[in-house]
């Protein structure tokens, strides 16, 4: 480090943030803090500066000062690693900071930073890095600390311990599609001669082709189509009919008729229709399973909690896994750490940021002997606590353990239609059979019966839903609205009531607006900043940030009165900052809230922190109130009541000081009154309500941030599109109904031949792909049309 000088506007080479205060210079590059400089030094000393050439300012994330002692505990290590032998260990971390090609480059060159790391591989979409390392040379803790040093802190939380293997399900589906596609292609090839008519020369191959087709349809029926039989059998056992029941029946009938035709050499059989049908059905299923790798919808408190916490055993700090905590354990919680279990404050002064639990923005003070609830984040000095309830039974986690998440059995369009559809098919099939039997033509009766079942395939019906809904999902996706899966789009369309959370939903979570009334000279500016530097209260931090850090004067007689404010002597002048009660004299006028500044005996002004409302909120509310019952449930105090009343109409319900359980109850009451509730919220305090609502939307300004379990995640700046999203989901259902109509039309053509018992396999083989192509193109064109109409494209 050669020089240190003050610059007005300069950008940090590493993190791209504006340099406020001291500028650190190395190799003619500017850095905002020693952290960024340190990272640069590590990189440059290892010849890794190409990191900066892929993206300017790649380190857009401050290095946090987390503690990783717990990673030395063998029991915790065991839960985290994927594989271990005498020499090497493989571990996979989720690193939320991965966002560009620089990240890939750097993280895949970890072996240069520490030779004990064999290699590291990144999965960019899932933001996972899997690292294999020599476990004798480097510990897991050291490895994580290395990652943190270069700015990639892995998110190690309780949910990591319970790794879910949803991946393999998808893989087996792809395998089935591959097999079905392979069989379909070959069957088509062998059926072509039949389509064009066999000459006498080719007819010697007919038997061979028949047997080949039959052989190829065996894996399609018994491997690829297995799920349909299982699902149909299960639904029959429960005495109800789902859409898989007619599908399973069709597969069976097609297979039996093909076998019969091949064995008795009575015709070409339906192997082409059969394999094509299964292939298309599986494709539909795959489209439906489309998931977002980078977003998790099922996060609960476990992904918010760390995996371990520092406990005090005999006065010594020992890390302990959270799921091993016992009642009576002593916890040591440092600044910025989270309280994992309901516990009693034993030592120190606790300032808890409970915003995740209650939505309350101002931190709460707890005195000795008071209960601190799990989920609170300590701001300030380290505190000692004694656990009174296990983490899994705390007040907060109780939201998830509640049993009353009783959603009505969901009846989707397809399920509703399936019953009538199946009945209609059977009625037609049996009457066709009865008709031919009455003429004594048992051959034709059998042919007609099976043909009706084949033709009346609900294939189109099963395909139109996933294709339409996934097209809608990708439209939503482009506008920053990520919906969990295709099924819930129907739930969204049915909503007629919207409940908003206030903090973080109607207001932004980003910097609250700070206004100062009064005048503050340059010198006063410095005096106030010097005083505030000593306080760790979030309000002081916020004001200090707006004042800008700089060199500060020494301070004496510093006093901090919790809940009131701070005072101190700077340059022989008394400076006071806080609410009215700390000031040396009474304030005239109606200035109530805010942080008042008094220097010596002169009142200088007041800092007022206002919540910033989201842009376009007024327009949004006025559009929504025509179609929806609107409600606001806020965990905060009633400060903003006036403002909210201006935005919302009189009939909208606005409730303040709602605990997470109150919110949940409010949703339940609404549902009892027959409302279909869409809940829009953010933090954990809305988690119960989000889960109980018919359609829960978690709103976030950063997709990588924590979001509670929900049906959809919405980017903050896309909130104004909400009415459009809802309208498009309704239009989507319309599209599905229309495509059902088209499918029925096609079926009627097929049925015309089928009831006469003259369905030639070729007709079935042509009819099915044509109807499928029509439906798929119709749904995608119609979805685009409606998306454009709703200003979403």
């Amino acid at each position: 480090m050669r020089t240190q000088k003050i610059l007005d506007i300069s950008i940090c080479y590493h993190c791209g943030e504006e340099i406020a205060g001291t500028d650190r210079i190395l190799d003619d590059k500017h850095f905002c803090c020693t952290g960024c400089l340190g990272v640069y030094q590590i990189l440059s000393s290892n010849n890794l500066c190409a990191y900066y050439s892929y993206n300017p300012a790649p380190g857009k994330r401050s290095v946090s000062n987390a503690y990783f002692e717990y990673l030395d505990e063998p029991t915790i290590i065991k839960q985290l690693i994927d594989y271990q032998d005498d020499k090497s260990t493989i571990v996979t971390f989720y690193i939320p900071a991965i966002h560009c090609s620089s990240c890939i480059w750097l993280l895949e060159h970890l072996y240069k930073i520490n030779p004990a790391i064999y290699n590291s591989r990144i999965d960019f979409l899932k933001k996972l890095v899997s690292i294999s390392y020599q476990n004798k040379e480097i510990s897991l803790r050291r490895l994580v600390e290395t990652l943190v040093e270069i700015g990639y802190e892995p998110a190690i939380n309780l949910q990591d311990v319970v790794k879910e293997k949803s991946h393999s399900v998808n893989k087996s589906l792809i395998l089935k599609i591959a097999v079905a596609g392979f069989c379909m292609g070959n069957v088509m090839l062998f059926s072509f001669p039949e389509y064009f008519g066999l000459s006498s020369l080719e007819s010697q191959f007919q038997t061979l082709f028949g047997w080949l087709n039959l052989t190829l349809s065996i894996p399609v029926v018994f491997y690829c189509g297995r799920e349909y039989f299982v699902s149909a059998w299960n639904s029959l056992k429960h005495k109800h009919v789902n859409l898989d029941t007619p599908l399973a029946l069709i597969i069976v009938v097609l297979f039996l008729r093909t076998t019969y035709a091949v064995v008795f050499n009575s015709g070409p059989g339906f192997a082409d229709t059969l394999t094509g049908l299964v292939f298309l059905l599986l494709m539909g299923k795959w489209v439906k399973q489309r998931t977002y790798h980078h977003i998790s919808f099922d996060r609960d408190y476990r992904s918010y909690f760390p995996i371990a916490v520092t406990t005090l055993i005999g006065g010594r700090q020992t890390p302990k896994a959270i799921n091993e905590l016992l009642i009576g354990d002593r916890l040591w919680i440092r600044n910025g750490e989270l309280i994992p279990a309901d516990s009693i404050l034993m030592k120190g002064s606790a300032w808890l940021d409970m915003s995740f639990v209650t939505g309350e923005t101002e931190p709460q003070e707890k005195v000795l002997g008071e209960i601190a609830y799990a989920g609170g984040r300590q701001m300030g000095e380290g505190i000692e606590l004694e656990v009174v309830k296990l983490p899994s039974q705390s007040y907060l986690t109780g939201l998830w353990n509640k049993e009353h998440y009783s959603h009505d059995a969901k009846h989707h369009f397809n399920d509703r239609v399936a019953k009538y559809f199946t009945i209609a098919v059977f009625v037609i099939a049996f009457s066709a059979m009865g008709y031919w039997l009455s003429y004594g033509n048992s051959n034709k009766a059998w042919a007609a019966f099976t043909a009706v079942i084949i033709v009346a395939c609900p294939c189109v019906l099963t395909l139109s839903t996933p294709f339409t809904l996934s097209a809608i999902l990708s439209v939503f996706d482009k506008k920053g609205f990520y919906v969990k899966n295709t099924d819930v789009v129907e739930d969204m369309a049915s909503c007629n009531s919207i409940v908003f959370d206030k903090t973080g939903t109607l207001t932004t979570t980003e910097q609250a607006k700070l206004t100062f009334t009064g005048t503050l000279g340059d010198e006063d500016h410095k005096l106030v900043a010097s005083l505030l530097t000593n306080s760790s209260h979030p309000l002081s931090r916020q004001i200090l940030k707006s004042l800008g850090y700089g060199s500060s004067y020494p301070i004496s007689k510093y006093k901090e009165i919790p809940g009131k404010g701070i005072s101190g002597q700077v340059c022989n002048r008394m400076v006071y900052a806080g609410n009215k009660s700390i000031l040396p004299f009474d304030l005239k006028g109606d200035q109530q809230s805010g942080v008042h500044i008094v220097i010596d005996t002169a009142y200088k002004g007041t800092f007022i922190i206002e919540q910033q409302w989201r842009e376009g909120l007024k327009e949004l509310v006025s559009t929504l109130q025509h179609n929806f019952i609107l409600t606001v449930l806020s965990g905060d105090t009633a400060n903003d009541q006036e403002m909210l009343k201006k935005i919302f109409q009189k009939k909208a319900g606005i409730n303040f000081e709602q605990s997470p359980h109150d919110k949940l109850k409010a949703i339940l009451t609404k549902q009892k009154n027959g409302e279909k509730v869409m809940m829009i919220g953010d933090g954990l305090n809305d988690a119960g309500a989000l889960k109980q609502s018919n359609f829960g939307i978690a709103i976030t300004d950063n997709i990588n941030n924590f979001t509670p379990g929900c049906d959809a995640i919405l980017k903050g700046d896309s909130l104004t599109y909400l009415p459009n999203f809802h309208q498009l989901s309704k239009d989507g259902l319309k599209i599905i109904s229309i495509s059902f109509g088209i499918a029925i039309a096609y079926n009627c053509i097929g049925l015309y031949y089928a009831v006469q018992g003259t369905l030639y396999p070729l007709v079935a083989a042509v009819l099915m792909p044509i109807s499928t192509i029509t439906i798929i193109s119709f749904t995608s064109i119609a979805t685009r049309f409606f998306a454009r109409k709703n200003n979403l494209l």
Binding site: A50, R121, N186
Partner: protein
């Protein structure tokens, strides 16, 4: 025309080989991440002269 029997056999065997290759690639994890490798090839080799690490 009997040669056709042989050709049909060949075509089925070829198709089976392709299917097996796909199944292998899927089981091997080659389809797990189809985005990162595409970005990885674009990285240059180390160009700066100060040296390689060995």
């Amino acid at each position: 025309m009997n040669i056709l029997y042989f050709l049909i056999g060949c075509s089925v065997v070829m198709a089976l080989i392709f299917l097996a290759a796909f199944v292998w690639s899927l089981r091997n994890g080659q389809q797990d991440d189809v985005v990162t490798p595409g970005m990885r090839v674009l990285f240059d080799d180390e160009i700066d002269g100060e040296g390689t690490d060995e």
